[in-house]
């Protein structure tokens, strides 16, 4: 039973990771990051159920809180960039380089 959850978690994580690497749109990248976080949450909850302890669930809540905070800041940044540069592509925001 645990294995199935974990496989699902791994699949979600991989989808998220590929999305981060392959997609250009900042919003989509952002959602993929959320996907990865939630894949982790799923793994935590699974292990918590398996071991019968609350630690994993606790951490899952922490992750959600952090994710929420991240969304607030991250979306704000993306919106600001879109406003100034008329583009939501992460490849266009490449000024911070060597």
């Amino acid at each position: 039973m645990t294995t199935h959850y974990l496989v699902l978690s791994a699949l979600l994580f991989s989808i998220g990771a590929l999305g981060v690497l392959l997609r250009r749109n900042a919003i989509v990248v952002f959602m993929c990051v959320e996907l990865m976080l939630n894949a982790c949450n799923l793994a935590f909850v699974t292990f918590a159920g398996q071991h019968g302890s609350l630690d994993g669930q606790l951490i899952a809540f922490f992750v959600m809180v952090v994710a929420a905070a991240e969304v607030v800041i991250g979306l704000a940044i993306i919106v600001m960039i879109f406003r100034t540069r008329r583009s939501a592509s992460v490849d266009d925001a490449n000024l911070l380089k060597y």
Binding site: V20, L21, L22, R24, D91, N94, L95, L96, K97, Y98
Partner: protein, 635 residues
């Protein structure tokens, strides 16, 4: 054979104050140099006074010394600790040093007086006298010091004075170059003297003459003693312009003529002979070193004589002759106690007659608007009689005209060389005397006799009394001094407490085989000179001459040799080193810095600014870390 006597500590009396000989001229130099223009008006008088005062002290010390019994005639006077635990500076008054002191202060004072006239038109006369006083002080320190280090201080001190005086007219590039050359070549000799002192110190634990008597042989192997002897000889060669360090002396004639007379004829250049005689204990225990001394002496006496034959510049001719005469002294000094007295005796008489001739040459130049080319002289006898007569007396003395000074002392050296050094050395010395007869006669004929070849604006006249009187006094010495010193072995006996003497005192033969041969050769040389330069017309421009003439004119290619052997490779080495330093060592460090800079320049290209490529590298990094953790965990 008799050895030198012990050095006794002395207090009081004139000898107790003999350090004043050094201090007074030094004080004079200090006053004149620090006083600056304020002392211009009386500076020359102060210089002369200090020199005369030193002479007075020397005479008083001499009188006191001769009053002592023969076995106690070496007196040391301690002055102060120079380097604690190594050397105390002190004065040693013995027959050898006092002879030198008398020569230096006596001839030195005459030359001081002469310079008043000679330098009267030079607005830097005060500085000239300051340097002369400095020289006298340093030279006296050289001969009076009771240890090698003090001697060395004086040794380099006279080098400095010589540097300053050769370059006195420093605005002339040739004078500046000559001064520098003299100092540097002397430094090569000083290098030898330095190493000799190191060896003496490590072998004997002392640099004081007092501790380095005849018993040095008991504490060192002959190899060490030979090494010390050869190193000392290197020092002597530098200072005395002996082969192979002779090249500076001819250029040194750039200095004012009184300087040439005092430093480069009468006193400083003979310091090498003093050193060899003073270090007799080492040389007598090292026959190889002695042999080398005699060989150097003979080689130089011939080389100097040959150079003297081809020079048209009167001063350079005299300089060649000086080299040659010092060669005789070296030869004598290399012959052991039998030769010392003749070497030093010849040194003293040479001091008189050579100073006499140099001053005479100066008087001629003074009259001829500083012309030095003898081809522009001729027929000067009638215009400047005193100069001419005194010069001719000096000339007769140097060629060994019977009964004049040079005759006795040079004869003594040649006889002793025959006796102690073998016939080869002896006959070569005779040949040298013959050549001396030629080139000195050539000089006299070209200058004082024959047709007048003067420049149009030359109006020769006799020099003032302040210049002629020193000439007269020196020429009196040139006549009688030799006979006084040599007859009855007076000088040998006087010197013996300081340098020892052979068991059997030599007898002076007036009509020995070598003596007659020498006279014959000298006469032949003089006759040949008369034939070439007296009777015949002397061209005003030097003819090209044969290969041999060119060889002699160019100082036997001494300069060329130095240039190709040392100067060119040295310049090459310098340039290479500067290049290596800028490009090599510094380049290495700068290269390292540039390398680091370049690498970081490449590396920063990784920061593309694309968030997705950063994400990719983060994933790879994470994967590697996880993989590594798994790998390590499974181990």
């Amino acid at each position: 054979m008799e050895s030198p006597v012990e050095i006794l500590t002395h207090a009081g009396g004139a000898i107790g104050y003999s350090w004043l000989m050094i201090a007074l001229p030094l004080l004079g130099a200090a006053i004149l140099l620090l006083g600056g223009r304020r002392t211009d008006r009386w500076g020359h008088l102060l210089g002369v006074a200090m020199s005369l005062a030193a002479f007075a002290v020397a005479v008083a010390s001499f009188v006191e010394l001769t009053g002592l019994p023969e076995g106690e005639r070496r007196r040391g006077v301690g002055l102060f600790e120079f380097i604690p635990g190594m050397v105390d500076l002190g004065v040693l008054i013995d027959p050898l040093s006092i002879s030198f002191a008398l020569l230096i202060t006596g001839v030195g004072s005459l030359i001081h007086i002469y310079s008043i006239g000679y330098m009267s038109h030079d607005h830097d006369r005060r500085r000239f006298f300051a340097y002369l006083n400095l020289f006298v002080a340093a030279m006296l320190l050289l001969v009076l010091s009771d240890n090698y280090l003090g001697l060395f201080v004086g040794w380099e001190g006279v080098g400095l004075a010589s540097y300053l005086l050769i370059g006195f007219w420093q605005f002339k590039p040739s004078a500046a170059t000559a001064a520098q050359k003299a100092f540097i070549i002397n430094r090569v000799g000083d290098f030898g003297l330095l190493i000799a002192m190191f060896t003496i110190w490590t072998t004997f634990g002392s640099l004081a003459f007092r501790d380095l008597g005849a018993d040095v042989t008991t504490q060192a192997s002959e190899g060490t003693l030979t090494a010390i002897g050869l190193l000392l000889l290197l020092g002597a060669c530098g200072k005395s312009a002996q082969l192979p360090l002779q090249a500076w002396l001819l250029d040194a004639m750039e200095g004012p003529t009184p300087v040439s007379a005092l430093i480069h004829a009468a006193t400083m250049v003979t310091a090498g002979v003093y050193l060899v005689v003073r270090s007799g204990a080492f040389f007598e225990a090292a026959p190889t070193a002695q042999l080398v001394v005699t060989i150097v002496g003979v080689a130089t006496l011939l080389a100097g004589a040959i150079i003297g034959c081809a020079k048209d510049d009167i001063k350079k001719g005299l300089a060649g002759s000086t080299m040659s005469q010092i060669g005789y002294m070296m030869l004598g000094a290399g012959l052991g106690p039998a030769g010392y007295a003749f070497a030093i005796g010849h040194l003293i008489t040479h001091g008189f007659f050579k100073a006499n001739m140099f001053l005479g040459a100066g008087s001629v130049m003074h009259a001829m608007n500083d012309e030095v080319d003898m081809r522009r002289y001729g027929g000067l006898f009638s215009v400047m009689k005193i100069t001419a007569v005194t010069f001719i007396i000096g000339y007769l003395a140097i060629i060994g005209f019977p009964l004049l000074s040079g005759y006795f002392t040079k004869e003594g050296i040649i006889e002793t060389a025959m006796h102690e050094g073998g016939p080869i050395l002896g006959w070569l010395a005779v040949v040298g005397a013959g050549i001396t007869g030629f080139y000195m006669s050539r000089m006299v004929f070209m200058t004082f006799f024959g047709k007048r070849r003067w420049a149009d604006d030359a109006h020769p006249h006799e020099s003032p009394a302040v210049m002629t009187w020193p000439l007269i006094i020196l020429s009196i010495g040139s006549v009688f001094l030799g006979a006084f010193l040599v007859l009855g072995n007076r000088f040998m006996i006087f010197l013996s407490p300081a340098v020892g003497r052979p068991a059997e005192l030599p007898e002076f033969h007036f009509l020995s085989v070598t003596g007659l041969a020498t006279l014959a050769l000298v006469a032949a040389g003089a006759a040949f000179a008369w034939f070439r330069y007296g009777a015949a017309e002397v061209p005003a421009v030097a003819p090209r001459g044969s290969f041999l003439t060119a060889f002699a004119r160019r100082d036997l290619y001494g300069d060329a040799l130095n240039e190709s052997l040392f100067m060119r490779p040295g310049q090459w080495l310098t340039r290479l080193s500067v290049f290596v330093d800028n490009r090599g060592i510094d380049g290495l460090v700068n290269g390292l810095a540039a390398g680091i800079g370049g690498t970081s320049g490449r590396l920063r290209r990784v920061q593309t600014g694309y968030a997705r490529s950063y994400a990719l590298s983060i994933f790879f990094g994470a994967a590697v870390v996880v993989g590594a953790l798994l790998y390590v965990g499974n181990m």
